[in-house]
């Protein structure tokens, strides 16, 4: 029950991408965070498949957000990386063994599954409440100086 490490990278990338008007290559994002460029590319591909970012190919290509940051929730990012399937999978063991429940009595999920699904929904609901715009705002107030602006300037700068 551990969240993929790539989720952290992906959320950070979405936050910094709000400060870039032009496409940012994956290699540059990797340099900014000092992480494996090839593996980060994999995460960005997932974001692209989910429609959160748009990939631009060619000489001055890279990744751009497709929506305004107010319309991107952390849940969107997490589900893009981890998938939208529930964290709990019920194997219906109540229908097995000598005390097996008859299939016609198992149309609805059992009490245990209902509890797990409810917890899963609560987790997702909490993530849905926070948008990328909220995260940017928090970053602005957490530190002194215009950190977001500085990052944006660094992304636009040419060489390293």
């Amino acid at each position: 029950m551990k969240l993929s490490g790539g989720v952290e990278w992906a959320v950070h990338c979405c936050v910094v991408l709000t400060q870039a008007a032009e496409p940012v290559p994956a290699a540059r994002l990797a340099e900014l965070h000092q992480v494996s460029a090839t593996y980060l590319a994999k995460q960005l591909q997932l974001l692209s498949r989910a429609g959160l970012v748009r990939s631009v190919q060619g000489k001055s290509g890279g990744y751009v957000l497709t929506r305004p940051p107010e319309q991107i929730t952390t849940l969107d990012i997490v589900e893009a990386i981890e998938g939208s399937q529930s964290t709990y999978v019920c194997t219906e063991i109540r229908q097995r063994g000598p005390m097996a429940a008859p299939p016609e009595a198992c149309t609805a999920p059992c009490a245990i599954a209902r509890t797990m699904y409810a917890a899963d929904r609560a987790w997702r609901a909490a993530l849905r409440e926070v948008t990328v715009a909220d995260l940017c705002r928090s970053v602005g107030t957490d530190y002194d100086g215009d950190v977001m602006g500085q990052v944006g300037a660094w992304l636009s700068a040419a060489g390293s």
Copy 2:
């Protein structure tokens, strides 16, 4: 981000153990659910380490709940199997790379980590709300007949 399959088995075992006054061997619980006996034993060991069940050795030994079912939450069981560590681990990538934040500015977790931790707490809070006693009650109302009583009788019965 998938919950260990053993969690399902462990919760089911705790529910049925409420119906057994005497110790129940792991092999019998495995037979009831038609799952691997040796692997289920591993889950029960984890429950034992967490103090949720008490193991009794010897000829008529087995496992017994240590507390009344009202005092065992599903969170207790999940944490016994999966561990109590957070689902999100922050690697502090904000302190790395050319735009690294100074360590003295990173005493508190960043906005992204705070969001993830909050979601984690919401998930755990939902699980903490449901006790094993609640699950037993739900099982009683979900099906016709005294299912819980029948399972208890089967556990006490001698042969297969």
